[in-house]
């Protein structure tokens, strides 16, 4: 509009359609993932973080000790269970095979950490 101040050269944020909220939570997830591909990995990271921090801090409040490998394993496992049904959608994919591989690697490493900690730490 205002050529003098060069406003046309500004990089604008991508606009997207508001997902159809009336057709259920799954449609919202699919619509958003279609528009923003990084939404699902961030969503999974959010689930992981909530379980890890929430569970760990709750344990720390009660026992004064936070079992980090255990909560990492629990959070990874729960995130895996969230990720599995996301493979169902046909058409535009919600989740990629690479994301599953990363998730499985983190779960495996957490499990190894938990098991080795229980061997070395006692």
């Amino acid at each position: 509009m205002d050529g003098k101040h060069g406003k046309e050269t500004l990089i604008k944020m991508t606009k997207y359609q508001i997902p159809n909220m009336t057709s259920g939570m799954d449609e919202v997830l699919v619509d958003t993932a279609r528009t923003i591909p990084s939404f699902i990995p961030m969503f999974l990271a959010f689930i992981w973080g909530v379980i890890f921090i929430g569970g760990g801090l709750a344990q720390k409040r009660r026992t004064g000790y936070m079992d980090i490998p255990m909560w990492a394993t629990v959070a990874s496992f729960a995130t895996c269970m969230f990720a599995a049904p996301m493979m169902f959608t046909s058409g535009e994919m919600m989740i990629q095979g690479t994301t599953i591989a990363i998730l499985l690697s983190i779960t495996g490493l957490s499990g190894l950490w938990l098991i080795l900690k229980n061997v070395f730490g006692r």
Binding site: A84, F88, M93, V119
Partner: protein, 149 residues
């Protein structure tokens, strides 16, 4: 005994990773999902490698029991002076290495073949793996010698 705990722990860790990958692959197959899990080479090769580790555990424990059965001792001998019996049980360690392999490839992008050396992204994981390896060796040594602490 520490050695038995370590051996069992590494075997359980390998089995955990194997069953996790198998669960996801079978889940994808049975429900004919859109995501091609079997097309992911990293997961597929890790599953195959871990499965062969299990065959390795079986044959190696059979070999160890053969060594044990054929072992002769004079009166007054130390029982496991040389530890020959346990030297052949390497499959749990290989399973651990395979877990680190898939993590390296999936999380850190793997080693670059053309660079000819260690990728800077892998140094952290390599350090962790090296520490675990050294600690494992030291722990196994401690289990029957009792030297390092």
């Amino acid at each position: 005994m520490g050695f038995m705990k370590l051996l069992g722990a590494l075997m359980l860790a390998g089995f955990f990773m194997f069953s996790l990958i198998t669960f996801f692959v079978d889940f994808a197959n049975e429900n004919s999902v859109a995501v091609d899990i079997e097309g992911n080479d990293n997961l597929r090769s890790a599953q195959t490698a871990l499965a062969s580790n299990w065959t390795g555990v079986e044959s190696e424990s059979a070999g160890a029991s053969t060594i044990y059965a054929n072992m002769t001792m004079e009166s007054g001998d130390e029982t496991t002076t040389r530890g020959t019996l346990w030297k052949s049980l390497t499959a749990p360690l290989k399973a651990t290495k395979n877990i680190f392999n898939i993590a390296t490839v999936s999380l850190f992008g793997g080693q670059q073949e053309d660079s000819g050396g260690l990728d800077p992204k892998n140094i952290g994981l390599t350090l962790l793996g090296a520490f675990l390896l050294i600690a494992t060796i030291a722990y196994g040594w401690k289990a029957w010698k009792g030297n390092p602490d």
